[in-house]
């Protein structure tokens, strides 16, 4: 039985060398795509800025320089100052931290709810699937963003009142509860999409022959789900998550812009735009770009995630040969 080994006669001799794992190949294939690479670098820069904001920013986000109020850009304040004398560059850099914090936590909430609920609905079916899927449909019946606004606007006063009357007045004042409100509002709506997506993926993969094959050799159910279904369903889920992150960043921007998200002095690209938009529109036209820069950054972040996710999607086709 020498058979197929003769394959080696003209190709190189076989070695015990581990082939690059599918994930490695996917990473390489994704980054070979130029827009995806640019997107990836932007995403890295975004999280890097968020993580090291306190080292990168020349001032603190709430430090007031009362000698320099509403000043145009200078060597001291590269992007100028606002009406309270705060350094705009520092506020924008700290804005990345707020944004990344919300993006990551909302994603965690989405994952924690969406993957188990979606996987359970897909794998087990029956009444469980009915319950979960009908719930997501109810959530979907409302226009997504509007629903988020509604939740944020409704629970924010309630949460703050509760905190104040229960001895957490400091916490209420610190603005940290605003983060919680934004994360709850976005997470509450966001998991539904992910759950539906995960369910669809699990349904497809569940019927693949290798899953039946795994069952036929006696692999226990939990291991069938964990080793055979989820890893193969994960690829498109990661794409959906990547695309979703851009959307979360944008939604946080909207909420904060409308005043129902993060509140100043805590910096958010949304509230920076709102503050400057409201105050300086007519009398201080030089501040107009303070509205546009946060918007531009948000747009770039959304595009970066979209391009990256798109290339990832292409690269994830397991049949693709390098």
């Amino acid at each position: 039985m020498t058979t197929t080994i003769s394959l080696a006669t003209r190709t190189s001799a076989p070695t015990l060398k581990r082939s690059p794992s599918p994930w490695m190949r996917i990473a390489l294939r994704t980054l070979r795509n130029i827009p995806a690479l640019i997107g990836f670098l932007l995403i890295v820069a975004f999280f890097f800025t968020a993580l090291f904001a306190n080292f990168l920013a020349p001032y603190s986000y709430d430090k007031q320089d009362l000698d320099n109020i509403e000043k145009p850009p200078s060597a001291q304040h590269w992007l100028g100052t606002d009406s309270l004398g705060r350094d705009m560059l520092s506020r924008l850099i700290y804005g990345a931290r707020s944004s990344a914090f919300v993006v990551l936590l909302v994603t965690v909430v989405n994952l924690a709810l969406g993957i188990p609920l979606g996987a359970a609905a897909g794998y087990f079916g029956g009444w469980l699937e009915n319950l979960i899927m009908r719930t997501t449909e109810i959530l979907f019946a409302f226009p997504g963003l509007l629903f988020t606004f509604l939740i944020a606007a409704t629970i924010r006063p309630a949460v703050l009142d509760w905190a104040r009357s229960n001895g957490f007045a400091d916490l209420a004042r610190s603005g940290y509860l605003d983060y919680a409100v934004v994360i709850i509002a976005l997470g509450f709506v966001g998991w539904a999409g992910l759950a539906r997506f995960v369910r669809g993926q699990v349904l497809t993969v569940k019927e693949r022959e290798y899953v039946i094959g795994a069952r036929s050799i006696g692999v226990p159910t939990w291991r069938v789900i964990g080793r055979h279904i989820l890893p193969n369903a994960l690829a498109p889920i990661i794409v959906a998550l990547s695309m979703g992150m851009g959307f979360i960043a944008l939604s946080e921007g909207y909420l904060s812009y409308l005043g129902i998200g993060l509140q100043p002095p805590n910096p958010s690209w949304g509230n920076i735009a709102a503050e400057n938009f409201g105050r300086y529109w007519r009398t201080f036209p030089q501040f107009l770009w303070l509205v546009f820069i946060p918007g531009l950054i948000l747009t770039l972040i959304v595009l970066a995630f979209a391009f990256f996710g798109d290339a990832l999607n292409e690269a994830l086709d397991p049949e693709l040969v390098d």
């Binding site: 197929t4 003769s6 394959l7 006669t9 003209r10 190709t11």
Partner: protein, 331 residues
């Protein structure tokens, strides 16, 4: 009978990310009027690509016809303009594909799809085309043809759809019918029906057929002559009885030894061809079958044998075909 189609030194390649795939590597053959030629080989041997090249239906890019001539009734189809090739396709040369599901347009009725080429090539009116369509459906054995002419493809079963495909291909009474694995997707009792129909039509209409298949059983009862292809080369060509009775190429011999026969009396061991076909990107310099060949010699590693006449109407591309004959005699 005269020669209908003459293919000379045809070369087709595909330019992919991995490099140039040499799909067809200098193929020369001819089809006489009224003759049925079987093109036999395994997946990736270039049998489909070579006939698609004849019809200039290779997607370009990534495909590219790198050389050769395709003489149909004396004119080189590779050099005529697009207008002219369109007047040949579906009219003088017609094709039937493997998958009758995807080759029919699901949103058009059968009537519209058959009528299209009748109106286009023969200039028939709607009324005439319809009448002719019913005739064609009857000819391929579709029951209640009048009633079914306005049905959509999904209303037909797989076997019936393949009949519709054949009816469409025959609509302009072509001189050459190219059938690209038309029975592969069909069940065996349906396959028998289709082969029965094709044999009858061939007798009645007298057209030439190129039948592409990997199934030696199907082709044994159908073809007059057979070309065996491997790695983009024709490695043996002979009349059908000669191929089965006197195979000269080690690959042909191997193929015949690989298939169990329904009429075998004792359980005999099959003699498979070991190994795998070569990679068409990094084509070896010598004989493409070298790695898997029982009869290989030093010469085979360095020189690719040309297709040379070994007997009357029988050609083989092998340096050691005489050894094959001897080995067969011993067995």
């Amino acid at each position: 009978m005269g020669t209908l189609l003459e293919v000379k030194d045809l070369r087709t390649e595909f330019h992919t990310q991995d490099g140039v795939v040499h799909a067809v590597n200098g193929v020369t053959f001819a089809v006489d009027e009224g003759e049925t030629l079987g093109l036999v080989g395994e997946s990736g041997c270039g049998k489909s690509v070579s006939v698609l090249s004849v019809m200039r239906l290779i997607p370009q890019p990534p495909g590219k016809i790198a050389g050769g001539q395709v003489l149909f009734q004396g004119r080189d189809l590779l050099t005529v303009d697009d207008e002219e090739i369109r007047s040949v396709r579906g009219n003088k040369i017609a094709m039937v594909f493997q998958d009758p599901m995807t080759s029919l347009n699901p949103v058009l009725t059968i009537d519209t799809q058959i009528g299209e080429s009748l109106e286009l090539h023969l200039g028939m009116t709607k009324e005439q085309a319809r009448k002719r369509s019913v005739e064609l459906l009857k000819m391929v054995g579709i029951p209640e043809a009048e009633g079914r002419i306005e049905d959509y493809p999904h209303q037909f079963s797989g076997g019936m759809r393949q009949r519709v495909m054949i009816a469409m291909a025959l609509s302009c009474t072509p001189q050459l019918l190219i059938a690209d694995e038309p029975t592969t997707a069909l069940d065996v009792t349906i396959l028998a029906q289709i082969i029965d129909i094709v044999k009858r039509l061939k007798r009645e209409l007298g057209m030439a057929i190129i039948w592409i298949t990997h199934d030696l059983g199907v082709i044994a009862g159908l073809a007059d002559r057979i070309n065996v292809m491997y790695a983009g080369f024709i490695i043996e060509t002979a009349p059908v009885k000669e191929i089965f009775g006197n195979p000269l190429h080690p690959y042909t011999l191997g193929l015949l030894g690989s298939i169990p026969r329904l009429d075998e009396t004792r359980k005999e061991k099959l003699t498979p061809i070991e190994g795998l076909p070569p990679d068409l990107v990094t084509m070896p310099t010598g004989c493409p079958f070298y790695d898997r060949c029982r009869f290989r010699t030093e010469k085979c590693l360095h020189e690719n044998p040309p297709l040379e006449v070994s007997a009357v109407r029988h050609s083989v591309a092998c340096w050691n075909w005489q050894d094959v004959v001897k080995a067969r005699g011993r067995a």
